[in-house]
Symmetry: C2
Subunit: 684 residues, 2 copies
């Protein structure tokens, strides 16, 4: 059907809504919505299937605005189609407690799939959504039941194109031959510093070709609706490659400042707004106007989406008759519930069991649960053999044509791309049918910090398998030995940082990571072997902290995590020889411990006993749980790990020495003392 | 000259040294050195000019092994050429306190230019070294005095090629037309997960072409020494583009496991070592053997380098006669000294001066000092207008052909590439003639975490201008509001994190950042205006912490940073109305405060007074300086900043309320109390 004046009116309605909302907020980005309105209008109305009344329908087409600062584009679309985003919500754009924040947040606004704005993230999330679609389709589709066949669409700008994370994700998508992914590159030549020619003169399409993408160029994205439609249609026909459409647009189209940096990140001036509205046939004196025929057109498309969902529901019901177990499994996954009794498969250890590295203990957990939790997809950023993230019978998630896996495979080869791995996992989790776990060294989770933060902010159940968690990795040396990393992620809201001390604690970490539906986890795991503790159990460890060794007459409490807990237990014997009694607390996850009631916490770290924390990295934050801290506030060293530990006095003797200093220092404390006073100097 | 048996012996000596060292260490990566020995031999002997007796000669050619795990290649070369790396040092590869750690560390080993190993970093450092060379040449070279004309060479592998940071840096280098940069891509098809075909199937050369690089392919990197030489020679002739040479090699060449993942990250087995040595004509029973003719050849080339430096020294002396000031300036820069009296240019503020955002105060500092500190190069990751990093008369560092700057320009347009910006700055700093400062939002310094860490580890004087430092950025919302970021970087060793409260503190931050020769700095700066404090001065602030408002009868000390210091001063008035006396401490840099003597620190945070910290982000770590903490252990909100502050009770009233709770709580404290006990709950 040819495009009509109603289509153009819809496009201009999006533009004027963006103009009005940013003006009302006195901040925001009108330029991208004004430039992208034509493409968004065509994409949403001609290609995308979705039901605004049920934004969670699993087979909806996904849309990700990677240049999230242009979110008024998306909010306007959500409103026009009838999502639960009212015109008042648009009027409260960028206001406290509104559902229309300055950048799109998945957790807050119906119809927003993922949280974007930090550049490059959305594009990479889209790759994850496409991975999830391909996997879910391969897992659940059966002859006569093409249950899962949605596409993922994303729009990204020059900023996203410059970010390394997007390069990593694009290379991954090309390798994976994700034909279900269609990206529109908003080629508007403007970023915050002005013309992109000052920093960004590469040939973007050629680069995507090099990654293995199908590429097209629509040269007049401002007017050529037929060209946009034809390009998306052509992209949909390419099933063995992701597609990118370079769309040349004029940022701030319609403004007196169109095509300049002036419309990127600032509202239009009042007189400019008037001329924009006049130009587009709107009353210059009115704001937030939506012509009825625009509502009608958008609602009609929404109704088609609702009908499509109804059809799908019928298909799914029939599917339930023929594929009862799969039907139940998909329903269960969508509720984020785990299969009943899954936890009975978690490994349990006795003190007499062998000492094992917690990265190996983690592998044993995966081996034990992968069959009962089919939504678990593991993977690694090219450290499979080191992260121990792969169960023996795992099949790789790969395009079948490569001959090394298939779409139903549950093991991801992310390549050496930590940041994209994290963002792809966020997208996989956001799809709703998968729990992703991905491995790298703990030190290199920092490479992914931008995306890890968004796991937390957007409440994704993502598991970071972070091995080689300290100077205990030994010979690789300071470049690979985390010092600041646990403090970093413990300071991140809605993140569980686990550092298990043995097998039962590792099982506990997985138990909490898998059952916390809206919280990601980092599991910090050792390279070196750890003994199985006498006092550990899953039930205790899932409280985040517990007493490993009690002594009601203790002179000192040693609070520790991971590989240092067993060292503390050794130190107790050394202290005993010196006539001192010590109790030992394991605190594998401070965030979970914080959530326990005060009485419990006081039973673990009681009044009246001086407390020393022992963790072989930055002491930052340990003052919260201890009077004195033994840690490592400097970079590590390259060498066999026992020698490195000894160099920094992380030995029973080194711990005992500091414990004694702590006991002595607090012996006669009655007055309030400045926190500046310390019992001993940190090694520097 | 044709290659001889001596050349092949030298190549095989590198290989056997790598085999012996990794075997002795029982860890490490023999594969890359064995595969890359031919290329390294040709590159170092035929092209590179350097003097092992003076690794700091400014015009030396730079070499960066980006795949730093292959560092035995580099240690072997350093030894053979006669750097201060002995055969014993090679025997102590990967041992505690050796100068041959598991990955190359610039600070520890003579001849190592930058610290590599974390993948992608070295490649990006090389771009920075090339930027620095181009800029230094444009600044100092004069007719008849081509003082600075060195090349930067880097070798990188598949791992580096996959990392986003390297993509960002490669795009930047292409844009900048860095003809002085030559990269060799070790195309060996192997990464830790095995064959790269499982994750990395893109066309790397085509991608580099898209970035604007000159590309070549040497198909037999194992044997074709002439081909390697011809390719490097051709690359040197291309002066308006960086060059990449794809070099197809066999990882672990010579081993029974050559070409497989088995030789990547594990020493060879004893019998394999024997057959390797026999194959290469070495005695299978001997270890760490260097034939004399190999020493002779390498030392001869080293002598040529020493002679070249002598010639250069003569030229430089003559230069000093004709260009006295430039000569003195270059000498001064190389000592890392600043021009005498520079600090007198730092802005000083009175309490009556206007309230100004610290990002603007930072701009005023740059405006005031750029002329007196010519080695300062500023820049931004596409946030120039927001970071306020550009002085008005700045000229961009750009290839002249673009018509928007020149090589002598001192303002970098990094594009939206935070991670590469940081690594490029590390390279620029490592060159020795530049102090780089680069801007982004504080929240997005996290994108650069991998490289920021290496600024610290490798002692680079790099300045991160991190604006929009809190929820105070307002409308952009939680995706852009740092919560965990300061805790993260405060936990990083050898990093100064500054959060100035006003103009004098901003000047102090720059004073310390510029005069700390071996420590990088993050300057956390506000978007919103801050009043000039009554009690601030540069002299006080450079102690890292000081008393802004004293009261010898204080009931409570408020310890704060940045934008919250003036809020605390307001809270003092509120407390006064409630009959409570308060003193206020500003702690703009905890690392510098930590370095003061104990007496001073106790004068700032004294015994006997309960202390409340006030900072509008994660409280993690504040227990070190306060009894109670008021912070934000959740994500922020999108809205006008004053409303966001009010939402989280960061108001004089909100602070006073918590101060009073703190006073009450500690009133009768005599016994030692568990740190679990808190005066009030954090907002969640």
């Amino acid at each position: 059907m040819p495009y009509t004046d109603t289509d153009r009116l819809g496009i201009n309605t999006i533009r004027t809504l963006a103009v009005d909302a940013t003006f009302a907020a006195n901040s925001g980005h009108p330029g991208a919505p004004m430039g992208l309105a034509p493409a968004a209008h065509v994409l949403f109305n001609k290609f995308m299937t979705f039901n605004p009344k049920n934004p969670d329908w699993v087979n909806r087409d996904r849309f990700v605005l990677s240049n999230g600062h242009g979110c008024m584009l998306q909010y306007a679309l959500l409103h026009l189609f009838g999502y639960a985003v009212t015109i008042d919500d648009l009027k409260h754009f960028r206001q406290v407690d509104s559902i229309t924040p300055g950048h799109p947040e998945a957790h807050d606004t119906p119809g927003i799939e993922v949280t974007t704005g930090p550049l490059g993230q959305g594009f990479s999330n889209a790759v994850g959504l496409a991975v999830a679609q391909a996997h879910t389709a391969a897992t659940f589709n059966k002859s006569g039941f093409e249950l899962i066949n949605n596409y993922t669409y994303t729009i990204f700008g020059d900023g996203c194109a410059m970010e390394g994370i997007a390069s990593e994700a694009a290379s991954t998508a090309g390798h994976l031959q994700l034909g279900n992914l269609i990206a529109i590159y908003d080629d508007n030549h403007i970023s915050i510093d002005g013309d992109t020619k000052c920093a960004f003169t590469e040939d973007v399409l050629k680069r995507f070709e090099a990654y293995g993408w199908h590429t097209q160029w629509v040269k007049d994205g401002d007017h050529d609706l037929e060209g946009i439609e034809a390009a998306i249609a052509a992209a949909k026909k390419v099933t063995d490659k992701p597609s990118v459409i370079k769309l040349t647009t004029t940022i701030g189209f319609g403004s007196n400042l169109q095509g300049t940096g002036g419309v990127h990140g600032n509202p239009l001036k009042a007189d400019d707004i008037k001329q924009v509205k006049a130009k587009f046939g709107f009353d210059p004196e009115k704001t937030f106007v939506v012509p009825q025929e625009v509502y009608d057109q958008y609602h009609a498309h929404a109704a088609e989406g609702a009908a499509a969902e109804q059809e799908w529901n019928k298909l799914f019901e029939k599917y339930g008759q023929e594929h009862k177990e799969l039907h139940a499994d998909l329903l269960r996954r969508l509720k984020k519930d785990l299969p009943e009794g899954w936890q009975n498969h978690l490994p349990v250890y006795k003190p007499t069991d062998a000492a094992i590295a917690s990265r190996k203990l983690s592998e044993s957990v995966l081996e034990a649960i992968y069959e009962v939790i089919p939504e678990l997809m593991s993977g690694s950023a090219d450290l499979t053999g080191s992260n121990n993230t792969r169960w023996k019978k795992a099949i790789d998630f790969q395009p079948p044509s490569l001959g090394i896996g298939n779409w139903a495979g549950r093991y991801m080869r992310y390549g050496v791309r930590e940041h994209a791995m994290a963002a792809i996992m966020n997208g996989m989790s956001a799809y709703g049918t998968i729990i992703p776990a991905g491995g790298t060294f703990l030190n290199f989770v920092s490479y992914a910090a931008g995306a890890v933060r968004l796991s937390s902010l957007s409440h994704q159940r993502v598991i970071y398998v972070a091995t080689h968690d300290s100077i205990g990795l030994g010979e690789d040396g300071p470049t690979h030995q985390p010092i600041e990393t646990l403090a970093h992620f413990r300071a991140l809201p809605n993140m569980m940082v686990w550092r298990p001390a043995d097998g039962n604690e590792t099982s506990a970490a997985y138990y909490m990571a898998l059952t916390s539906k809206g919280t990601p986890s980092i599991l910090a795991l050792t390279r070196q072997n750890l003994p199985q503790l006498e006092g550990s159990s899953l039930a205790k460890a899932i409280k985040g902290g517990y007493v490993v060794l009690e002594d009601k007459e203790a002179d000192v409490t040693l609070v520790s995590t991971g590989s240092e807990v067993s060292l503390c237990l050794e130190a107790v014997k050394t202290l005993k020889d010196q006539g001192l009694k010590a109790r030992v607390v394991s605190l594998p996850c401070v965030e979970v411990f914080d959530a326990q009631d005060k009485e419990y916490k006081l039973s673990v770290i009681p009044d009246g006993v001086p407390t020393l924390s022992v963790e072989v990295m930055s002491t930052l934050g340990w003052e919260k749980y201890s009077h004195e801290q033994f840690g490592l506030n400097r970079f590590g060293a390259s060498g066999p790990y026992k020698e490195v530990y000894a160099k920094f006095e992380f030995t029973p003797e080194g711990i005992a020495k500091r414990a004694k200093l702590t006991v002595d220092y607090y012996k006669d404390v009655k007055p309030l003392r400045s926190p500046v006073n310390r019992a001993f100097q940190q090694l520097i």
